[in-house]
């Protein structure tokens, strides 16, 4: 059994991304995205025989998808509880189930009503993976992801001279891509000066270093590679996948090197599986809950050395004409925070040549990352094929 190229993404779908979905339930948003993805794949809901739920905190369970979509024979159902690393972990999980012969068409959906529901920062204390920070750090006033991650960014700045203006480059380029996308929450241009003038949230992270709580849903269908050849759309193969967990996964405070994420362990495995190197990547959708997390992942992926990410992102390097086009849909920073499922959707569109005004010409090899739960990292390398 081999995982590389055993499965392909055959369908993608998403809802409008908004600040407030007008009271629609997360289930209804996920069903809309799921139906679009199934239709995009050119199959029927009854053909779905596997479901991987990428987010354990989602109020939607697989049984509700089965009931609404009328799925007659679900053979595989599981979840990937890795926070924002969940969607890409779910790709690997789906591909593994397919490679093992358990199922043929696996549905992944993720939706949220981040603003209309509970705020992410308020929810986090109740999650078991945050038990240690909840007991030992929250009483002192460390209460939200921005406050957990800011010391990582500060350490990077102190060790390597990384600057807030370099983080701004990431926010500015991502905003440019969102404006081209047509389905993004943020549609007005952003300058480095705008970023520098934005209020401080958790130093060194400013408002425009932070992603957007959003309403919406996205879905993908993963199919057996041999079945995918006959479907509607160009086939996008899952060529290499891996997940990695950081040292001290439950407490960044206790992590020996807090500038190294789980992705640093995953990246060599995924590149080796796909048989490509960072130099082969035409487009990268990199999980961007905060600008600094993008910079750190660029290093951990091997696009540059540790500490060189600040210089790497300067001068529009992450733009469509730059050396590494990143987050061509606008990311969590400027499209919507759909926990990175929107990154998976965008990579597939890029590799099919369906990315509209933000299309990277002749994109053939791309990657998508996930990041969550204080440092878990996931990576999928996809190829047009």
């Amino acid at each position: 059994m081999q995982l590389a190229n055993a499965a392909a993404v055959t369908g993608v779908g998403d809802t409008d991304y908004t600040r407030d979905a007008g009271g629609r339930s997360v289930l209804s948003l996920q069903l809309e995205a799921a139906l679009k993805a199934i239709s995009d794949a050119g199959i029927q809901p009854r053909d779905i025989d596997g479901i991987v739920m990428p987010s354990p905190s989602s109020p939607v369970v697989a049984e509700e998808l089965v009931t609404n979509l009328g799925i007659p024979d679900l053979r595989f159902s599981t979840g990937t509880p890795l926070g924002g690393a969940g969607p890409v972990a779910a790709l690997q999980c789906a591909a593994a189930a397919i490679a093992a012969g358990i199922c043929s068409h696996v549905l992944l959906t993720l939706g949220r009503t981040g603003r209309t529901g509970q705020r992410i920062g308020a929810r986090i204390q109740q999650m078991p993976q945050f038990r240690l920070v909840g007991e030992f750090e929250a009483p002192s006033g460390a209460l939200a992801p921005a406050q957990y991650y800011a010391p990582m960014a500060r350490r990077h700045m102190e060790m390597f001279g990384t600057t807030s203006r370099q983080l701004a480059e990431i926010a500015v380029t991502t905003r440019q891509h969102a404006i081209l996308n047509g389905n993004a929450r943020m549609t007005t241009p952003l300058s480095i000066e705008d970023h520098q003038a934005s209020r401080m949230i958790a130093d060194p992270l400013r408002l425009y270093d932070c992603s957007l709580e959003s309403d919406g849903a996205a879905a993908v269908v993963v199919s057996a590679a041999d079945r995918a050849r006959d479907l509607r759309r160009p086939r996008v193969l899952l060529a290499g996948m891996a997940e990695g967990h950081p040292d001290s996964p439950s407490a960044i405070t206790q992590r020996g090197d807090m500038t190294r994420l789980g992705l640093a362990k995953a990246a060599p495995r995924a590149f080796a599986m796909a048989g490509v190197t960072p130099a082969d990547i035409d487009v990268a959708e990199i999980y961007d809950c905060f600008t600094y997390i993008v910079l750190c992942q660029i290093e951990d992926l091997g696009f540059c050395g540790k500490g060189e990410g600040g210089a790497f992102v300067e001068g529009g390097a992450l733009g469509l004409q730059g050396r590494l086009p990143v987050n061509t849909h606008g990311g969590l920073l400027s499209q919507a925070h759909i926990a990175g499922m929107n990154h998976v959707v965008e990579l597939v569109r890029q590799l099919r040549g369906e990315a509209g005004r933000a299309q990277v010409p002749d994109a053939e090899v791309g990657l998508v990352t996930g990041y969550g739960d204080l440092g878990d990292g996931t990576l999928a390398i996809m190829t047009r094929g």
Binding site: G141, D203, Q254
Partner: protein
């Protein structure tokens, strides 16, 4: 207004909180191999012994990193904004996260020497705090 988050100690973590209440930072130590670990947990990751005792930290610390909280993520901390959260290296080989007292973030550099202190909050919970050493 909801109050500040309070710990819900387990049998493994209670000695830490009891120590703070007495103005002492207690660290868990493996009774088999002597490795000090923080935050408290049932098993030593080196030798897998579940036997542990507790030792008092020296009180010394150095700056590893920090953040300054500006946004009110929790209403009970709003009046304290901005406050500095320091991640400090302890000579015992573990780290401590605590608020900085009597200084601003401008004084901080990695390796800057600190002293551990103690302070009860309005709910009566004693927490560690950090001050510049020699200040």
């Amino acid at each position: 207004m909801p109050g500040k988050p309070m710990p819900d100690p387990s049998p493994e973590t209670r000695p830490y909180w009891d120590g703070l209440a007495e103005g002492r930072l207690m660290l868990q130590r493996c009774a088999e191999c002597g490795r000090i670990r923080h935050y408290p947990q049932p098993m030593c990751p080196s030798c897998h012994s579940m036997a542990a005792d507790w030792v008092e930290a020296s009180g010394e610390a150095t700056v590893h990193s920090w953040t300054v909280a500006h946004h009110p993520f929790h209403a009970a901390f709003r009046a304290e904004l901005p406050y500095v959260l320091v991640t400090a290296d302890l000579p015992e080989g573990v780290r401590l996260l605590a608020q900085l007292r009597d200084a601003t973030a401008e004084a901080l550099r990695p390796g800057r020497k600190l002293r551990i202190g103690f302070e009860a909050n309005e709910a009566g919970l004693t927490l560690p705090v950090l001050r510049l050493a020699g200040a």
